[in-house]
Amino acid sequence: MTVEGKFESDEEVDRWSEENNNIIVTWKQNERGLEPNQNVRKRCCLESLKLLQKIQGIPAATERLKLEMTVSYNTFLFSLSFSNASEIEESLTHSLLRVLEAAGSQVSSSDPVRLWKAVLQTFGTSVYVPYVHKLLLIQWMLWLMQCQLEKVLTLLTQTNHKREHSAPVNLQTETRNLALSMEEDSSLMVAMAAKDLKDLLHICTVVCQGVEQMKMEKYSEALEAFQEAKGLPSPRSLLAQIHTLTGQSFAKLGQPHCALHFYRKAVEVDCACHSALYQSALVFRQLGNPKAEMEALRLLYSAVQLQSDKSSSSTSLVCPATLSGEQMTFISRIPSPSLILHSLAHTCVFNGSISDGVEYYLDLLASLQSDGKDLILTGNGTSLPRIPVVYLEAAFALLKAERYSDALVVCEEVITSTLDFIPERVLLDADEKQNVADSDVVLENVDFVLWAGAAHLLQAQAHWKLKDTKEAITNFTRAINHLVKVFSKQKDWKQKYLGNTEAMVERMVILEAAKGQALAGRGLCFLERGQLKEALRDLHLSLQMTPGCKNIKMWLTEVLWRLDRKEEALTHWREADRDAPKSVILPLYLQLWPDDTAFDFSDLKKKMEEYVQAKTT
C-alpha cells in the first residue's frame, strides 16, 4: 500500500469510528429515558448493520481490525432483539473468518469451535485480544441462549489455554477462573461494556447449570448452583428469578415452607416476579391453605392485568431471561390471565367464598366472549378445562350464590351447544379392540352426555330452589334420560380392566354420581309434592347409584316413615348412621351436597329417636 493509500484508509477508519460512536451515543441517550423508543433502537440496529456491511465490503486488513470487531460486537448486541440466534451466529462466523483473513491465516472450516481455536492461537498476545474477547463473549452468549453448555465449556477452556489441563474440566471453575482482557478503547465506543456482559454471562451460565440440574431432578445440586449465583452481582429481576428457582427446588425437595420463604424473597426483590406468586399459590394449595392460595392468585391476577396494560417491551439491551435459555423461561412461565382467573374462581367457589367466585367466573366468561387473545398464551402444562365445563362451573357458582335465573341461562347455553352432539346411546365396550381415536371419540361423546346431563341437573336444582317442582321434575327427568344413554357391558366397570382406561372409569364414576343426584333430586321433588311412591322409587335407585350417601338414606327414612313403613325406616336410619359416605372426587359442578349439613334432618332425628325409644320401652 502506498503512503497515500494508507492515508486514505486512515481517514476512512476515522470516519467509520465516528459513525460508530454516533450510533452508540444515540442509543445511550435513548436508553437513558424512562421509556426507550423502539424506533430509535431499531434505527440504531439498522445503521450499525449498514456500517458493518460497509466495513466488510472491502478486504479485511489489520488497520481496520479493531474497528471492524467493535462494530461487529455492537451490531450483534443490537440485533439480539431483532433477529434470532442462528442468524447472529452466521454473521459472527463470517466476522471471524474475516478476522483470520486479515491476519493472513487461512481456515477452511467454518465450524465455530475450530474457528475459535484458530483465532485464539493467532491473536494470542496481540493488541487485538480485547476485541477478540468481545466477540468471544458474543459467542458465549449465543451458545448459552441455545443451552449448549459443553460448547461454552470448550470455548472457555481454550481461552484459558495458559493454564495446565491437569484438573478435571469443570464449567464452574472455568467460568470462575476466566481471565479475559477487558480493556476498553475510548475512541471506539461499545453498546455494553465487555466487563458488564461478562459478569452477566457468568451468572447466567451458573443459573443455566442449575436449571439443567433441576431438569435432571438433582435438586440439591441445583440449589448449590443457585447459591453460587446469589453470591454474584446481578440485576434485580435476575436475582428474583434465582430466588424463585431456589424456592422451586425446595418445593421439589419437600420443604414447602423454605420454598415459600424464597418466593417471598423473590417478590421482595422484584415485585414483577409473577412466577414466584404463582408458585407460592401452588404451594399453598398443596399445604391446604385456601385463603393464602386465593390471596396469592388474586395478587397474581392483578399483577398480570397491570402488566398487560403497560407495554411489555424489554428495557435492557441484553435481557437475562433470554440469556438463560428456553428452559428457564419454561420453568418460570406463568399461566395466561384467563387460566389464572379460572384457578382463582375455582378455588373461591371450591372453598366456599361463593360471592367472589361468582364475580370471577362472570369476569372469565366475559373475557372469553370478548377477546380470548390471552387464552392463546398457554401456561406450563396446565390448561383451561373445556369451555362447557367452565360454563357449568359458572352455573354452579351462580346457583350457590342464589342467582337462579342467571344459572338457568348459563345452563341453557350448554344445553343448546351440546344438543347436536348427543348420541342416541354410548356403549362402553372394553372387550372389543378399540384404537385410540375411536376411544377418544367415545370419551368425547360421554363428555357431551355428562355436560348435558349436568346442565339439566343444575337447571332442575335452580327450579327446585325457585319452588317450581313441576319444572324441576321435568329437568331432573331430562338429566336422567341423558345420563342413562351411557352404559357399559361389564357389570363391574369400576374395576380396571385391560382396556378400561383410567379416564373411562373416572367418567363412569362421575356419571353414576350425577345419575344418583338426579334421581335423588327428583325423589325429593316427588316427596315435596306428596307423590311418595315415586319418591321412594327414585330414592331407592339413587341409593343404588351412590351407595353410602347419608343424605339419601335420611330422605329414604323420611319417605318410608311417611309411608308408615316404620321398620324399614328404622333400618335405613341405622345404616345412615353407621356407614361413612364413600368419598368420590367429583367435578366442582356436581358437588351440590358437599357435606352432611346440606339438609336439616333434626325433625326426622327427633321422630326416629322417639320411635326407637318407644320400641325399646
Binding site: D371, K373, I376, T418, L419, D420
Partner: protein, 831 residues
C-alpha cells in the same frame, strides 16, 4: 342465456400480471401488479390513487382490522405492515386535491416478519396468523398484530406442525404454483364481529359451525381459521380457544383436518344464506372439485345431528372464486361462471342428489381470462358487482344481472322454447347485419383515409418547390409540373390563339380521381372594353399515373377579344367531397362539406405576352391574311367614315417605331451566345425573343423578323449592332439595338413592353456579374436626363391642361402621343 348476461366495465388497464391478489374495502380496490407494486384503485374516482412499491413481488395482501394498515407478503419472504396513506384510510372524505396517483415506496423498515418459509397469512381479531412451510412441515404461527408498535412483539405460539402427505415432490415448487388459502369463519351473530367487518370475514350459521368446529369455539364465538393446503387438505382450528385437554387429559393439537380435496385448494367460503346465516361451507379445488358441507338436521328417530360432505365437480381449471349468498362465482380460463347452489339442505338422500344435480348447472357470464375475483358487493342501486382482474391486466367491474335467480328456472315449455329459438335467431340476424354494416363503414373509412393520405402526399410534393413562379420552363425538375405554350390554330377557317398546357406527373404517386387542373387566365392590362377580368378553365381528370401527361388547350381570346399580356395561373385542385366514395351509403361526414371545400395547390404561373403571340411570316395560311385584309378594309372603311377617330390618328402617321438598346456584351453573357459576328448575334437575340422555348432552333434567318400581330397588323422587329461612342468614357460601346416597327400603336406598345419584360426577367434572374462596370460619360447622361426631364415637363403640362379643360380626349391624346413616341424612340442603353 339472457338471464345470465352481465355487463362488464373495464375500469382500468395495467400491465400484464399473472398472479394477482385482489382485495377491496369500501371505496378502494387493492391489487398487486407484476413488479412488486400494489395499486390502490379508487372505485368512485375510477383511477389509481396510490401506488405502493414494495421491494419484491407481492404474494398476498390483507388489511388490518381498522383498515388503516396494509399487510403484504412479498416474494422475498418479508411480511410488510405499512400504514395506508391518510386519504385512503378516511374513506368517506373525498379528496379532489390531486389527480395524480401518488407513489409510495415501502422501505425495509416496515417488515414485521421475515422468513423465507412464509406461505400465507391472515389477520383476524388483531391476531396475525401465518402459515409457513419448512422441511415439509406446515406450521401456523400466531402473533399479536404489530399495529403501531414498531417492534413485532410476537406472542409466539406455535400451533402445530402437520406432515404433508406427499413430501416426495418438492414442496417449494408446489406451494409456489398454488399458495395455500387462509380463511376465517365466524359463527353468525357473534356480537363483536357483525358491527364493522362483516364484509371481510365469512360467517356460518351457528348450528353448522358448532357441528364442524366444536362446542368450545361455538360457546365463546371464536373465529375459526380454515386453511386449504396445496395438497388438498382443509385444516381448521379455532383461533381463540386455548389448547384444550383431550378427553384423556393429554394435550391435543387444535388443528384438525376437515377433508381433503386431493387437489390444490383455491377457495374456501360460506354460502347459501338461511335464517341464521350461511348454511353451507364451500371449498373449491383447482381442478374443479367442489366440496359443500351442510348440516343434517337431527331427525325424529333420535339420530344425532351431523354434517354431510357433498362433492361435485365443475369444469376446471378453477383460477379463482368468490361467493355471494346464493351463488358461487368461479373463473376457468375461458369463462366466468355463476353456479347456483341449492338452498335446500339435503334432508333425504335421494331427493338431495337430484336437487343438487339440478343446482349444479352453471351459467356462463361471458367474461374470460379472469385471474382474480373480489366481491360480490351490492352497490347503492341494488345491483350486484364483482371486481375481477383479467389475465391481460384489466380491472373489470362485472355488474351481474338483477333477477338472475330466475336463471335457475328449470326448463322452458316447448312452445316457449320455439319462440325463444326464433328470437335468438332473429337477434343473431340483427347482430350479423350490424356487424356487416360496421365492416362496410370501416372499409369506407379506410378508403377515405387512403385517399386523404395521397392528397396530402401530393400537396407536400407541390409545396416542396420554392416560389419561382414566373418561369414555367425551368420547372422541369419538379415532379408535377405544368407548362404552357401559346399557339395559333385555325379552326373552321378561323385562326384563334390558344394556350396548349401540359400537366406532367413525373412523381411517384398517382393523381387519383378528384383532382382538377385549373388554369386561370388573368389579363394584366385592362382596356376600356375589357371589363371581364380573369377566366378559369378546369379540367377534372379520372386518374393520372406517374409518368403520364395531360394535354389541355384553352383559348386565350375571350368574347371580348384578346388582352395581352396575360398571366396564366395553373393549379391543382382537390375537392374534399371526392374523399368520400360516391356510393357511400350514409351521408356521414361528407354532408358537412361546403361547396367550396377543396384543396388548391398552385403549380406554375406563366405569362403570355405580345411576343408569344406574334405570327411569323409563312406560319399561317393565306386565308387568314385575307381575312385580315378584310378586317383592314372594314377598318379603313370605318376610319374613312370617322367612326374610329382614335385609331385614325395613329395609323395615318405611318409606321411607328420603338427601339431598345442593350449592351451586346451583356446580352451575350446573359444568353450565353457564342456567336462572334454581329449578324449571328442579332439572329440569336431575335430567336430568343420570338421563340424562347426553342432556343437552339433557328426560326429566324435574318436580322429582321416580319410578323403579324394578333389583330393582323404587320410588325417588324429588327436587330442591329451599333457602336456608341459618346456614352462610355473608356471607348466606344457595342450596343444591340432592337427596333420594333408597326403601323399599330397597340402592337408596338405591346411588343415593346414584352421585350422589356423579357430583358428584365433575364437580367434579374441571372446571377452572372459583368466583368467590369463601364465608366459612363457624364455628358451623355446629362443629355439623357435633360431629355427625359423635358418630356416629363411636357407630360405634366398635358396633365394640367387635361385637368383644367375637362374631357377633351382627342386633344390630350394628340399631345400625349408625341411625348410617348419621343420617349420610346430615344431610349437609354441597357448596360
Amino acid at each position: 342465456m339472457e338471464a345470465a348476461r352481465c355487463n362488464v366495465e373495464c375500469l382500468s388497464e395495467f400491465s400484464d400480471c399473472h398472479s394477482v391478489r385482489l382485495i377491496q374495502d369500501d371505496t378502494n380496490v387493492f391489487l398487486t401488479s407484476g413488479d412488486g407494486g400494489v395499486l390502490i384503485f379508487n372505485v368512485q374516482e375510477r383511477r389509481v390513487t396510490t401506488v405502493m412499491q414494495f421491494e419484491a413481488l407481492v404474494i398476498s395482501l390483507a388489511l388490518s382490522e381498522d383498515k388503516h394498515r396494509l399487510y403484504a407478503l412479498c416474494a422475498n419472504g418479508g411480511l410488510y405492515c405499512t400504514p395506508l396513506p391518510p386519504q385512503l384510510s378516511s374513506s368517506s372524505v373525498v379528496m379532489n386535491k390531486s389527480s395524480d396517483s401518488v407513489l409510495y415506496t415501502v422501505p425495509d423498515d416496515f417488515i414485521v416478519l421475515k422468513s423465507f418459509f412464509l406461505q400465507a397469512f391472515t389477520i383476524v381479531e388483531k391476531i396475525l396468523v401465518t402459515l409457513s412451510l419448512h422441511k415439509s412441515i406446515w406450521s401456523f404461527d400466531l402473533y399479536e398484530e404489530p399495529g403501531s408498535r414498531p417492534l413485532h412483539k410476537l406472542a409466539h405460539f406455535q400451533v402445530v406442525t402437520v406432515n404433508t402427505c406427499c413430501s416426495n415432490t418438492t414442496d417449494k415448487e408446489k406451494s409456489v404454483s398454488s399458495p395455500p388459502v387462509l380463511t376465517s369463519i365466524y359463527p353468525e351473530g357473534s356480537t363483536s364481529v357483525s358491527t364493522h367487518q362483516s364484509d371481510l370475514h365469512s360467517h356460518l350459521e351457528p348450528h353448522l359451525f358448532r357441528l364442524l368446529f366444536g362446542v368450545d369455539a361455538s360457546l365463546i364465538n371464536s373465529p375459526v381459521i380454515l386453511c386449504g393446503l396445496p395438497d388438498g387438505r382443509i385444516c381448521c382450528f379455532p383461533l381463540l380457544v386455548p389448547t384444550l385437554a383431550g378427553p384423556t387429559g393429554e394435550r391435543r393439537s387444535p388443528v384438525r383436518v376437515l377433508q381433503s380435496l386431493e387437489q390444490p385448494v383455491v377457495f374456501i367460503g360460506t354460502c347459501v344464506s338461511g335464517e341464521h346465516g350461511p348454511q353451507c361451507l364451500v371449498a373449491v379445488g383447482q381442478r374443479g372439485k367442489l366440496l359443500m358441507v351442510r348440516s343434517k338436521q337431527a331427525t325424529l328417530e333420535g339420530k344425532k345431528a351431523d354434517y354431510g360432505f357433498n362433492e361435485h365437480s365443475v369444469r376446471g381449471p378453477v383460477l379463482c372464486a368468490c361467493v355471494d349468498d346464493k351463488r358461487l362465482y368461479y373463473s376457468s380460463l375461458n369463462d366466468l361462471h355463476a353456479l347456483q347452489l341449492s338452498t335446500t339442505s339435503s334432508s333425504s338422500d335421494t331427493a338431495g342428489t337430484e336437487s343438487q344435480l339440478r343446482a349444479l348447472t352453471s351459467d356462463s357470464l361471458g367474461v374470460c381470462k379472469v385471474v382474480a375475483l373480489s366481491g360480490p358487493y351490492t352497490n347503492s342501486t341494488g345491483s350486484v358487482q364483482l371486481f375481477a382482474v383479467s389475465l391481460s391486466g384489466r380491472l373489470l367491474q362485472v355488474n351481474l344481472p338483477h333477477g338472475s335467480e330466475k336463471g335457475n328456472v328449470p326448463r322452458l315449455p316447448s312452445s316457449v322454447a320455439g319462440q325463444r329459438v326464433k328470437d335468438l335467431l332473429a337477434s343473431i340476424g340483427n347482430i350479423w347485419e350490424r356487424a356487416e354494416s360496421l365492416k362496410h363503414k370501416l372499409q369506407e373509412k379506410n378508403e377515405s383515409l387512403k385517399r386523404l393520405n395521397q392528397v396530402i402526399n401530393v400537396c407536400s410534393l407541390l409545396l416542396d418547390k420554392d416560389g419561382n413562379e414566373n418561369e414555367c420552363n425551368t420547372s422541369t425538375k419538379h415532379p408535377i409540373s405544368c407548362r404552357g405554350v401559346a399557339r395559333w390554330s385555325s379552326l373552321l377557317q378561323r385562326d384563334s390563339l390558344t394556350l396548349a398546357c401540359v400537366l406532367e406527373n413525373s412523381s411517384g404517386c398517382t393523381l387519383e380521381h378528384g383532382w382538377t387542373l385549373c388554369i386561370q387566365v388573368h389579363p394584366l392590362s385592362k382596356g376600356p372594353n375589357m371589363e371581364a377580368s380573369s377566366r378559369t378553365y378546369s379540367f377534372p381528370f379520372k386518374k393520372l399515373d406517374s409518368g403520364q401527361k395531360l394535354n389541355v388547350t384553352i383559348p386565350l381570346e375571350s368574347t371580348c377579344g384578346l388582352s395581352l399580356p396575360a398571366k396564366i395561373y395553373c393549379s391543382l385542385v382537390f375537392s374534399l367531397s371526392a374523399l368520400f366514395s360516391p356510393e357511400a351509403s350514409s351521408p356521414g361526414v361528407s354532408q358537412l362539406l361546403t361547396e367550396t371545400s377543396s384543396i388548391s395547390a398552385p403549380l406554375s404561373t406563366l405569362t403570355v405576352d405580345w411576343l408569344d403571340v406574334l405570327r411569323l411570316d409563312g406560319s399561317f395560311s393565306h386565308s387568314n391574311i385575307r381575312h385580315n385584309t378584310v378586317t383592314d378594309g372594314i377598318q379603313a372603311f370605318l376610319r374613312s367614315r370617322g367612326a374610329l377617330n382614335k385609331d385614325a390618328d395613329t395609323t395615318t402617321a405611318g409606321p411607328i417605331a420603338v427601339t431598345v438598346r442593350v449592351s451586346s456584351e451583356l446580352l451575350k453573357s446573359k444568353l450565353q451566345l457564342s456567336a462572334t459576328s454581329s449578324a449571328e448575334t442579332c439572329m440569336s437575340v431575335l430567336n430568343w425573343l420570338v421563340s424562347p422555348e426553342a432556343i437552339g432552333q433557328t426560326l429566324v434567318q435574318s436580322r429582321v423578323v416580319c410578323a403579324y400581330s394578333p389583330d393582323g397588323c404587320s410588325v417588324k422587329i429588327m436587330a442591329k449592332e451599333v457602336t456608341l461612342g459618346d456614352i462610355c468614357s473608356d471607348g466606344p460601346l457595342e450596343v444591340l439595338e432592337i427596333r420594333v416597327e408597326s403601323t399599330s400603336v397597340a402592337a408596338v406598345c405591346g411588343l415593346h413592353h414584352a421585350i422589356l419584360r423579357r430583358l428584365q426577367v433575364l437580367l434579374r434572374d441571372s446571377t452572372v456579374k459583368c466583368g467590369h462596370t463601364k465608366q459612363l460619360k457624364a455628358q451623355s447622361l446629362f443629355e439623357a436626363i435633360r431629355h427625359v426631364e423635358s418630356l416629363y415637363k411636357d407630360l405634366q403640362d398635358a396633365q394640367n391642361q387635361a385637368a383644367l379643360r375637362g374631357t377633351m380626349k382627342t386633344k390630350s391624346s394628340e399631345i400625349l402621343f408625341p411625348i410617348l413616341l419621343q420617349l420610346r424612340a430615344n431610349p437609354l442603353v441597357i448596360l
